[in-house]
Assembly symmetry: C2
Homo-oligomer: 481 residues x 2
Amino acid sequence: MAMATSGRKLASQQTQQIAMHTEVPGPETKKLLLEYSEIGGGGGAVAMFLDLEKSNGCYVVDADGNQMLDLFQQIASLPLGYNHPSLKAAHQDPLMQVFNISRPALGLFPCKEFPEICKEAFMSIAPEGLTKVQTMLCGSSANENVFKAAFFAMREKERAKIGQKGFTAEEEASCMNNQAPGCANHLSIMSFHGGFHGRTLAALTCTHSKTVHKLDVPAFDWPTADFPHLKYPLDQHKDENAKEEKRCLDHVRSLFEERKSKGTPVAGLIVEPVLSEGGDFHASPDFFKGLQKACEDYGAAFIVDEVQTGVGATGEMWAHEMWGLPTSPDFVCFSKKALLGGYYYKDHYQPPGGYRVFNTWMGDPCKALLFRQVVRTIKEDNLLERVKVCGVKLRDILDRAAKEAPAYVDNVRNQGCIAAFDSGSPANRDKLFSTLRNNGVFVGVNGTQSIRFRPPLIMEPEHLDQFEKIFFDTLHQLKAN
Amino acid sequence: MAMATSGRKLASQQTQQIAMHTEVPGPETKKLLLEYSEIGGGGGAVAMFLDLEKSNGCYVVDADGNQMLDLFQQIASLPLGYNHPSLKAAHQDPLMQVFNISRPALGLFPCKEFPEICKEAFMSIAPEGLTKVQTMLCGSSANENVFKAAFFAMREKERAKIGQKGFTAEEEASCMNNQAPGCANHLSIMSFHGGFHGRTLAALTCTHSKTVHKLDVPAFDWPTADFPHLKYPLDQHKDENAKEEKRCLDHVRSLFEERKSKGTPVAGLIVEPVLSEGGDFHASPDFFKGLQKACEDYGAAFIVDEVQTGVGATGEMWAHEMWGLPTSPDFVCFSKKALLGGYYYKDHYQPPGGYRVFNTWMGDPCKALLFRQVVRTIKEDNLLERVKVCGVKLRDILDRAAKEAPAYVDNVRNQGCIAAFDSGSPANRDKLFSTLRNNGVFVGVNGTQSIRFRPPLIMEPEHLDQFEKIFFDTLHQLKAN
């Protein structure tokens, strides 16, 4: 097959046998589940236990020895699949041991190699116009700290307006009691219905993808805007979709206006390029441009959460780079395929003084070392091109499946390898998901009745040939029942 | 010197030369700081850059080659000092590479070794009565998830009271908009003035140690109780201190009562055994027993945050084990010396269903592997006994210093090697801190005018001999100026 990529094929990228010995979860997973449940079971959502040593490239091996083609990759968090040779090499870097066993508190006492590692790992792929980076441990922590930076900036503006310099005694006293004016309780972050930004309580306030995330947990009284529910395929419903996007932009502006008029302005707006956990909702570049413009008009930070879409998954390093924004977003958050959390930000969002964005670890230099190697591998192996080629091929397979089995495959959409479709019902989706899994292909679910694909960047067209055969076999099997 | 410990002395535990070539921060740190500032500077609080490869045992080496006795240990987060041989061995475990480069999403797809690792690392040192453990990535994340578990339990009780099973349609709908009754906005977590529980927004709501943490950040309207301000030494002010503790317990109960009477009950109370960031505030076992009793009376979870005090720092594995509680706390949170965050909990706080306590990574098996080795080393090298011996010796040194230089050293207090004193003023504290540092001893600061000690568990009495000489020299130097 003709390849638009470098052609070099590593062992980890070769197709392998799919080998199913049991249903999933199999007896060994069930045994481990019982054992794990005795000490809490890790929260109660464990689906299967893995044999990570035997997992390789695009293939995951479970505790029962079932080898599956894994198109979900640890909730979209493995950029190079399992046990990639270049990461094996990075693990052998003598600094890896040092950083692992003598972990520094990066915000106070970073290792002397850290600025250079950050430049090579993060700044070498920074979106244009974003000059600063802050590492954290996970996506929730990244987002919560971005919120803080947005609040600081808004409060600085509010103080400048009244000519106040520094903090008042009343601010210093009231903040220790969780009260205004010291705590900026009048400020908020706007988010979208269907969006997901993490599960610590402020991040969760901005999350609206599933009730199970939010029930019984207190939330801030922050505004939630409608995100466009577009008709797919996008290019066949342009006028309707434009109307829907206009409606949602109007809603965003009305929420900005409502809060502004009450003296409780919105300090930032956070959005994913593809609303992933919620069900892979897409929108047009014009919609995102409109969001940025609304943020500018209301003096709010425009925050793009690329935790799931970033690091090459769409075929661009960052999904928002396809929007053609006149200027970069104020913040771009990453995690998952970046192997640790963090965010890029513009100069003027530098925290006004030390210890305002701070915690003990502020990231993990081990993961930064690994991510530097991921970035090198993406460049050397021309992986973004691979993702584009595979994205086109995956889309074609899904489009053909939609014609053949619309009760199971409908509303196909993708940006590169961020691909998804809806089934006709939640029950059909669940049946398709579990049958596929027992047939040796592991995909992700999201929303109420969607299936999502989050393959690693090293996926080859041959893996998709393998997927296609099993996918169509599975659809025929389901239709026959 | 006679040792109450095993006597086996590893290279990493031997005293070494303190060697200062420059003031701290030195020219190399300053150069790196400029370089790092160009890309954000990691938040703006960096004090020095480290040469972690050269750091060893109790000694940290900075980028300028200064070798200092480090009694702060990366904000109390290194249990075995720098580059401990047993952790070098753990790093060589073949699983370390696999877990590092093929990191699993532990809540959904844990590696098959994880239940066993959790048992050996965490459950083997679980406080009595705490049967379950949940790993997370950091202390903030641990605490935020504990809050959730406490909210779930309180809502279950509220539902049981009115005979409601499952969620109402109104709950399902309202939660997606951040509103009651779906979001438990009437519930809260009580915390203490001077306490520190992390810096994500809900954890930060429970944090009241410094204004710089809280200014300009929105907080939940949760109650804050007075923590006793005791007179030291504790054994010379028993009556006064008992009165102060009674006053604070009454305050706690009045806050519980106030919220209960409004129909907005407190779901949990969180407290540190020693309020560390706030300035090392101690209280008696009776006080903590009183807190537990108040929690029981009001049906709230009793949450002990051992992020800074846990894993042997006091000479007990967990500081709260010295309180003689009739039953264990409902939750005990850890991080720092545990190398990753997490918490122990009682059976009946198991989340009512999967995905309610959940995120992508839910910890890091690499750090769990390391921590298993830490636990083994603590046991094999009898480190808790070492901490007790060193705690007594450190206390004696500080007590003598307090007699000699009370303007710099006052109100000495300790529990094992969690030790601190106040200086007579913030300026004196800062002068003592920086002069000590330039003389080759690195300690921590906290509160407004305190210095804290957070040495590693491998510290030997000989290290304290070395500290004593420099400490008294420094005090003489300061008094002479």
